[in-house]
């Protein structure tokens, strides 16, 4: 295996809506910042891969427009996933493992503001049985929370505590959208948004993006003093059929965690759990002990740029390793509804 590291990370100041600018105007400064972070230009990059979604942009082949931000002429080696940028990072990692690249630029982005996000996300569901019923993403997450509550796996107070902790942590994150939270008792006094979910249990709707530079071996050491090495990375999928799985667990997370090598001392875990109750499923799946600090950035409950929030988790762990704040961390990204697809990575300093 080739040693591959994250060597640079940049993200937008995530916001509810960026009405004046288009996607490429939004993401170009972040790509520029990630490249500048290691003094690189696009000519130093062997492979570029992005994650975005036409359903969010409301436009076919929307990612092609955004390629203007990387200077794709003369032609570059480039690919795209209709998924979170974390899966674009996985593709870039494979490209490096295959010996086809030593360096890679990865980015993920979306503007969720142009459309009606909870309804747009209903198009992630199967087109025969679930999609035609148009269940919005909050209602679908509510089914999962209800199953957990009824199985005594979580309480509404625990859910509020998870939301509170994440948003209080985000108070120290200048890029977060929701920074700080009302006290738990106040949260629990609120009406339901979609029973059993209250507003605080749900992620914000976000416009934003992020970019990461990957490098192999000596190139990573040349670019930065302390690369954030990807010691393991794996992604797995649970059934898309809600009726075919126990919604209170996500076995794909446990498998991905085992394959990625989640064990031993872990300082920080950045997990991609858009809804409060989902954090408990993810932490359980990863098998993390209570001593692990979870989501010092505030996680997806503080800023949830679709197609980027998973890649941000990798970037947040890498940033803390590169700055020598921590030695070892776990990053988790999810895709689809109800934690259907999961990617887990273990990152480490030298």
């Amino acid at each position: 295996m080739t040693d591959v590291a994250i060597v640079s990370f940049a993200q937008t100041d995530h916001q509810r809506a960026l009405p004046g600018i288009n996607e490429v105007e939004m993401v170009q400064p972040v790509i520029q910042q990630a490249l500048d972070g290691v003094g690189a230009t696009i000519s130093d990059i062997d492979f570029t891969c992005s994650g975005s979604s036409d359903y969010l942009a409301g436009q076919a082949f929307s990612f092609v427009m955004t390629l203007d931000a990387v200077g794709a002429w003369p032609p570059i080696a480039e690919s795209h996933v209709e998924m979170d940028g974390a899966w674009a990072l996985y593709e870039a990692w494979l490209k490096i493992q295959a010996g086809h690249a030593d360096t890679a630029l990865v980015y993920g982005y979306s503007k969720a503001s142009p459309g009606d996000l909870p309804r747009v996300l209903s198009r992630e569901l199967d087109p025969y049985y679930q999609g035609p019923l148009w269940p919005d993403s909050v209602a679908v997450a509510g089914l999962q929370a209800r199953q957990m509550l009824d199985s005594a796996m979580i309480t509404e107070a625990e859910m509020a505590e998870i939301a509170f902790r994440n948003r209080q942590s985000a108070a120290n994150n200048p890029h977060a959208q929701l920074r700080g939270s009302a006290p738990v008792q106040e949260l629990l006094a609120q009406d339901y948004l979609s029973n059993p979910l209250r507003k605080h249990d749900c992620p914000p709707i976000t416009d934003g993006g992020c970019a990461i530079v990957l490098a192999a071996g000596d190139k990573a050491r040349e670019w930065v003093d302390r690369p954030a090495w990807l010691r393991g990375i794996d992604h797995r999928i649970d059934s898309h059929n809600f009726g075919g799985r126990d919604l209170t667990v996500a076995p794909s997370i446990a498998i991905a965690a085992e394959k990625a090598g989640v064990s031993g001392d872990i300082d920080v875990a950045e997990v991609h759990a858009p809804f409060s109750h989902q954090e408990k499923i993810v932490i359980t799946g990863l098998g993390l002990s209570d001593s692990v600090e979870v989501n010092p950035s505030g996680g997806a409950l503080a800023a949830n740029p679709m197609m980027a929030a998973g890649l941000v988790r990798l970037g947040e762990v890498a940033r803390r390793i590169m700055s020598a704040e921590i030695d070892r961390g776990v990053a988790h990204a999810t895709g689809g509804q109800l934690l259907q697809q999961n990617l887990v990575a273990v990152l480490e300093g030298e």
Binding site: L18, P19, G20, I21, N22, E23, V24, E25, Q28, I31, Q32, I42, G58, M65, L67, D68, A69, V70, G71, A72, W73, K111, S113, P114, G115, D116, R119, V120, R123, P127, Y128, G131, P132
Partner: protein, 189 residues
């Protein structure tokens, strides 16, 4: 046992796919071969800074491109980036309205409500001062007489119908100027 069927609405069908097969042995369930699940969304489209300048220019019958800060090349219409440098464009520059055909095709199957009667010519059109070509329709000349290098100008909607839309240019027509040699158009498609 499967037989190809056409799935295209085009004349005679251009593509086929296999006939769906029906499981045998269960006559209690009537076969469902096809369901329709219509979906539509309304989006508040954000053109962005540079495309907004382009669209506002069109409302004044101006074609505005955006200048690359490094090469000086003017891109039109622009999303606000130089695709060669990966850098934001810095200056809006008016190009045209006179222009040159850099490539074209004769269209025999029209799509859409506003398509001209077939056959007609779709072309890539390089406005004077621009580095890349715009897409447009050529009318006012028999389609067999259209040439690469031919000089054209835009035909606009009446002033009282102008809006912030590319449809302000209904089509392009030839003007009485000598053709531009094809070698001068290389790299400007």
């Amino acid at each position: 046992m499967s037989e190809d069927r056409t799935i295209s609405a085009l004349p005679d069908g251009l593509w086929t796919q296999p006939q769906p097969s029906v499981p045998s042995g269960d006559d209690t369930v009537s076969e469902v071969q096809r369901i329709r699940t219509p979906a539509s969304f309304v989006y508040d489209f954000t053109p962005g800074r540079a495309p907004s300048r382009f669209l506002r220019g069109l409302a004044e019958k101006k074609i505005l491109g955006e200048k690359c800060p490094v090469s000086g090349d003017v891109y039109v219409p622009s999303r606000g980036m130089s695709p060669v440098e990966g850098l934001p464009t810095t200056e809006a520059v008016e190009v045209g309205p006179k222009a040159t055909i850099t490539s074209f095709c004769v269209v025999h199957i029209g799509f859409g409500e506003n398509a001209p009667p077939t056959p007609f010519v779709s072309a890539l059109i390089l406005p004077d001062g621009a580095a890349v070509s715009l897409y447009g329709t050529i009318l006012g000349i028999p389609h067999g007489d259209v040439r690469i290098g031919m000089r054209v100008e835009p035909i606009w909607l009446p002033d009282d119908q102008l809006s912030t839309s590319f449809e302000n240019i209904t089509h392009w027509e030839p003007i009485d100027e000598p053709d531009v040699p094809a070698e001068q158009l290389k790299g400007h498609m």
